[in-house]
């Protein structure tokens, strides 16, 4: 039974990281109907920025808490900047192009960013500093759930709540929902659509960066390729819940995380990624709109 709980909590942790990335996919897809292939790379760049900043600060001799805060802020700022720039370069000129064009452009961007980090940094796995300390009060339960996992679960929950509030009650959230429903109508009622799209990329990238920092300090190492697999899995999660739906992305991520955790725990760890892809294929075949998504008729 203990093993079951361990797997369950491991799955939840995994799922909440997926959720942080999947939200970026789902928000962007909801607004401009584009699979932002480079999103996984933004997450990877977030993790790398955190690693670099944390190492520099360690050499400078700051205390641990300050390093954690500064590295996370740097990761979020830089990821947001990259997300913003990627949108301006690779997607904005293609707003009115055929559907396939921005997708190919996004794949190109993803390959470009991967190799940019590979060439500027290294192809080796870099050890990531353990930014999150072990809490003393959590000691009795740490055999079930490590403190990093606890931090991941708490942080993701807080972020989900904040995001929901942002989208429900703020002006920019309202503008985002309006743009998602009908872009030209939103434009007519005075929403600055370009600004809204940029904001969506910025917010999504920040979330991915947080995910990057958290998972890197949990697993303990990163390299330039982590974004690819994480990106595809998060996209799977987004599709599972119904692309474009924010609660759907969270639900899908948790289901995917739990599935992977149980499958590797009880079946075999060799086929970990195969389970995720097989799940993706099955969902698209039997419920293309996802669990919480609505299927829309194509208008002519």
């Amino acid at each position: 039974m203990e093993y079951f709980f361990e797997l369950f909590l491991g799955g939840l942790t995994r799922g909440s990281i997926y959720a942080l990335i999947a939200l970026g996919y789902t928000m962007v897809y909801g607004i401009i109907e584009l699979i932002n292939f480079a999103h996984g790379e933004i997450y990877m760049i977030g993790a790398f920025t955190a690693l670099i900043v944390a190492s520099v600060l360690t050499v400078m001799g700051l205390n641990e808490f300050a390093i954690l805060v500064l590295a996370s802020i740097a990761a979020a700022v830089y990821s947001a900047a990259y997300g913003y720039t990627v949108e301006k370069i690779a997607y904005k000129p293609l707003r009115h192009a055929p559907r396939l064009s921005p997708l190919i452009s996004a794949i190109g961007m993803s390959i470009f960013l991967q190799n940019y980090v590979l060439l500027a940094q290294t192809s080796d796995f870099l050890p990531f500093p353990s930014l999150i300390p072990d809490f003393e009060f959590w000691e009795p339960y740490s055999h079930l759930l490590r403190s990093t996992q606890l931090v991941i679960l708490v942080t993701t929950t807080v972020i989900m709540v904040l995001l929901t509030l942002l989208i429900k009650y703020t002006k920019i959230g309202k503008a985002m929902r309006a743009t998602a429903q009908d872009r030209s109508m939103a434009m007519l009622v005075g929403v600055n659509v370009n600004q809204v799209i940029s904001m969506t990329f910025v917010i999504g990238s920040c979330l991915a960066a947080v995910g990057g920092v958290l998972i890197a300090s949990h697993i303990g190492q990163i390299n330039f390729f982590i974004g690819f697999i994480a990106g595809i899995k998060a996209f799977t999660a987004a599709v599972l819940g119904g692309v474009g739906s924010i609660p759907g992305a969270v639900l899908g991520s948790l289901i995917l995380g739990l599935t992977e955790s149980f499958a590797t725990g009880y079946v075999s760890s060799d086929y970990e990624d195969v389970f995720a892809f097989a799940l993706l294929v099955l969902i698209l075949i039997f419920r293309p709109a996802g669990l919480l998504g609505r299927s829309t008729m194509q208008k002519v």
Partner: protein, 405 residues
């Protein structure tokens, strides 16, 4: 066009932004085990100057694209591109073809085995590009798992040769059939999905195939792969290494010609027109009475057939295969060839395959930047020239009013 003050200011801001953006990744390099930090400030200067200049080029290209669009809308005749002018002029085409044939025929005898080997690789990518071109260029289905069918072909030959000792020429058609079979197997469930979902599912499928090959040791010998696969034989005669490479080169030339012939015929056939119609507008296409699923499935299966055949040739060429040769990057490279060449254009895809495979081989200094450049090419082509270096000539009919009436 002289750069005005505001333009310079804009570019200056862009370069400042990029210096900020690339600061942590380009400038700082950390060694986490020895706690060393390396500052590479010179990179920041390069970035600043580079992005300052490139932003001018970027804006100029955008401006040219905009004016080009306006011209074609207002009816001003657009000059055909350099390649198109050469291709359409009879004075050039005959000598060019003759020179091309001569060059192709003597190439393996003049050049050494190393050069011939590179050329064989380039020719393989031409065929792969043309195969993917059927799926992406003609039918408009973005297939990101194309390499899976390539792997199926390669493993078909590897396994059949290893277990049963079957020869190259026997397996070539089997590889084609296996490719088509897997194409249909994947195509059936996923083809009713919309374009971008299809891309992800094919990507997932490609990864599944690779992971299975990597982990199912009893079947595929796992990551260590299959070694000592037989090279192709000429009517039962086993050739020496150098002559078998020359032989393979001519097999490949034959393959390229065959592929070009078939794709060209397909393009103008009933099914080819159906593909193009489907790419342009699915709903209208269905309304015209075209069976959507069957048409898409044919495209998928035919595309996969070529990948299967090239896979067999690949296994015969390298005599060693393992799952590491069939990663997503390989699919992306083939896609880059199709995108650069121009979707749907046979000449364009062939030229693009030669450029993208041969250039990195000869410009060794740049070979580590290869994937970086591929990525950049995909973005730049989509933004500035989505039709590729040689645009597919679209069939058009001119309305000529009758003078007598």
């Amino acid at each position: 066009m002289m750069p005005t003050l505001s333009e310079i200011k804009k570019s200056f801001l862009v370069s400042l932004w990029f210096m900020f953006l690339t600061f942590p990744i380009m400038v700082i390099r950390v060694n986490t085990t020895e706690k060393l930090v390396l500052w590479r400030w010179e990179n920041m200067a390069y970035m600043g100057i580079g992005s300052f200049l490139l932003s001018f080029v970027w804006r100029y290209m955008l401006w040219r694209k905009e004016t080009g669009k306006k011209d074609s809308e207002s009816g001003t005749l657009q000059l055909p591109s350099f390649f198109e002018r050469i291709l359409s002029d009879r004075r050039y085409i005959v000598p060019a073809t003759a020179a091309g044939i001569a060059l192709v025929a003597i190439f393996p005898f003049v050049m050494d085995t190393y050069q011939t080997n590179i050329m064989i690789t380039a020719l393989m990518y031409i065929v792969l590009g043309l195969g993917l071109n059927i799926v992406v260029g003609l039918a408009g289905l973005l297939d990101l798992g194309y390499v899976a069918f390539y792997a199926v072909g390669a493993y078909t030959y590897g396994l059949l040769n290893h277990h049963f000792g079957l020869g190259f020429w026997t397996v070539l058609p089997i590889g084609a059939v296996m490719g088509a079979f897997f194409g249909i197997l994947l195509g059936f469930p996923v083809l009713r999905l919309r374009g971008d979902y299809l891309a992800i599912v094919t990507l997932g499928f490609g990864e599944i195939i690779r992971l299975i090959l990597e982990n199912w040791n009893e079947f595929s010998f796992g990551p260590s792969g299959i070694a000592q696969i037989a090279r192709p034989s000429l009517f039962g005669i086993q050739l020496s290494l150098s002559s078998s490479i020359i032989y393979l080169y001519f097999v490949m030339i034959g393959m390229v010609l065959f592929t070009i012939f078939v794709v060209n015929r397909l393009q103008n056939s009933r099914i080819g027109r159906a593909w193009i119609a489907l790419r342009e507008d699915e709903v209208a296409c269905q309304a015209m009475g075209i069976d959507k699923t069957r048409t898409k499935l044919t495209a998928f299966a035919l595309g996969a057939t070529w990948a299967g055949m090239v896979g067999v040739i690949f296994a015969a060429k390298t005599t060693f295969i393992n799952p590491a040769s069939f990663t997503f990057l390989e699919s992306a490279m083939i896609l880059a060839i199709v995108v650069l060449g121009g979707m749907g254009s046979i000449v364009g895809v062939s030229i693009a395959a030669l450029i993208l495979i041969l250039l990195p081989e000869y410009l060794r200094a740049f070979s580590e930047f290869r994937m970086l450049i591929f990525g950049a090419i995909m973005v730049i082509m989509m933004v500035f020239r989505p039709q590729g270096i040689v645009a597919n000539v679209r069939r058009s009919y001119k309305f000529q009013p009758d003078k007598h009436s």
